[in-house]
Symmetry: C2
Subunit: 339 residues, 2 copies
Amino acid sequence: MFMPKPPLDHRDSLPNNNNNNCSDVCRRHLFLILCSMLKVPDHQVAGHRAGDGKLGPLIDDSGKFYKPIQSDGRGSKEVAFYTSVSSYTNIPSHIRRFFPIFHGTKLIEASDGSGQQPHLVLQNVFSGYLNPSIIDIKIGSRTWYPQASEEYIQKCFMKDRETSSLALGFRISGLQIESKGSAFWKPDRKLIRKFTAEEVRLVLRQFVSSNSSADSGVDPDCTFVSTVYGGSGGILAQLLELKEWFEHQTILHFYSCSVLMVYGKESVVKEASSGAEVKLVDFAHVFEGNGVIDHNFLGGLCSLINFISEILTCSDVHTAKASLQDPKNYCYTNCDTQN
Amino acid sequence: MFMPKPPLDHRDSLPNNNNNNCSDVCRRHLFLILCSMLKVPDHQVAGHRAGDGKLGPLIDDSGKFYKPIQSDGRGSKEVAFYTSVSSYTNIPSHIRRFFPIFHGTKLIEASDGSGQQPHLVLQNVFSGYLNPSIIDIKIGSRTWYPQASEEYIQKCFMKDRETSSLALGFRISGLQIESKGSAFWKPDRKLIRKFTAEEVRLVLRQFVSSNSSADSGVDPDCTFVSTVYGGSGGILAQLLELKEWFEHQTILHFYSCSVLMVYGKESVVKEASSGAEVKLVDFAHVFEGNGVIDHNFLGGLCSLINFISEILTCSDVHTAKASLQDPKNYCYTNCDTQN
């Protein structure tokens, strides 16, 4: 097994920890062994980040993702979800593949140096990609659930109204788009949070483009649109599979859950196959459906599907009409006149 | 033209009105002529009702429905909707048929005796039915729109949480179900407002049953389920047509808008055809979609569709297994094990 160097933030944070009964020498020894296997993920776009003494997820080189089990109840709810989801025999296998594989829970040295803490052990969904382009999209116009406290409801209610959640039925929570080799365009989260509908549309086009995303003056060329979004194995087809399930499933409601979209530009260029994948992540607020479909998730998912469908359709229009050089035909403005 | 007697509530309300410049004799004359043509609808299940000196809609015998144009802005917004909808050439005709036909606006004697008031003149969607069974379902888990005042948002927010809107993505606003001839079961609106998911499920089964709906001890027999909900022209097929449009249309967002479902039991018995129809009504809160689908309406519509699909599926299961007399097979409990 490849043994990477322990990340600096782990070694730095060790001496300040006094939370367990192991001797300092013993702890240091254990820590160095564990750290030699665990590291801060390179490709995390949303959620709490490890590093600088902060608690966040870690990965190893065998394709596993270690997510700290948050102590405020959310962690245990997510564990309950992963534990119970295998018992739902009525979730078909073609839907199960959208959930990261669950490898149980494990006590590991936490990234904030607070000693051994319980972690969810999950599939690292990015481990198969060299330089993955990733978008994390929180689905649903409403991220709060009826059972929540009034304080939590009001907090989410505000955030849903401030972000694109209310208008679009989803919001982008994080993203990185490969620009040159291992360089990424990774806009600040505060910027992402303020995305308007037009900016979301632009980013979803930049995601499948070969030209620079960081330069706002450059029109995305949508070079990879048909390979990444289109085709029988593309992102749109996967989202439509999910939609078909959400139209009928009444067993689970997913609040504040994200759709991850990931692919590797190199694969598209070298193998003419994007390896594009859709995954569902973040299940700290999943509740029983009690015989009702998750109309909040479904509505948002359909909205995302429509954005992506339009980009695909517009790209066809754009390609076909490019020679006319008529700006009205360009999909960034709006080519949706068939409705 | 058939000239029905003026309704009592009109004649009673006349002498108290002093709001226009017409002399009493002139007004009485005009009023009697108008009233001989206009009457309070027999089959109104939701919204403001005319009668007892109150402002509400009226109908005539030519199949027209006169809806007072509310002065608080909602009326003018609904007029704007009906006026502009004909200009949306990208609304296909198979979708247009879900909107009541618009015959313009007209000054008529208002039902509250306040003199001549502007009214929307619409198709009376119940005029073709002798004793229609009707359900009015307000679609969307959220009845407020982002542009509304904070006071209005909070009012709707409360109501959505108190009713089934939040949980189901829709709420029943009113209903009448024919029980014997021209007798109807028409539960009180306060009762309807408190419907739980199970009660909504029950009512949607009672709607297509031949046995008494008023007696809560009687299990609905779902006699008419395949004719009313099922079939190529049934309610489910019509709702699916609407859904297909809402998955793509980004031109209009419908807040606090209702789906009306109507049919006549007599037609089913005599003609083996229910004449079941779906209509969209109440457009006081319709806004431009600005390139985004109406995920709020779509989510709620999909939820309603799932309720009705389950009743259809369960009825098949019930029919097939009735001889086993196993109460677990009975669809009211839950036959949704395929998800």
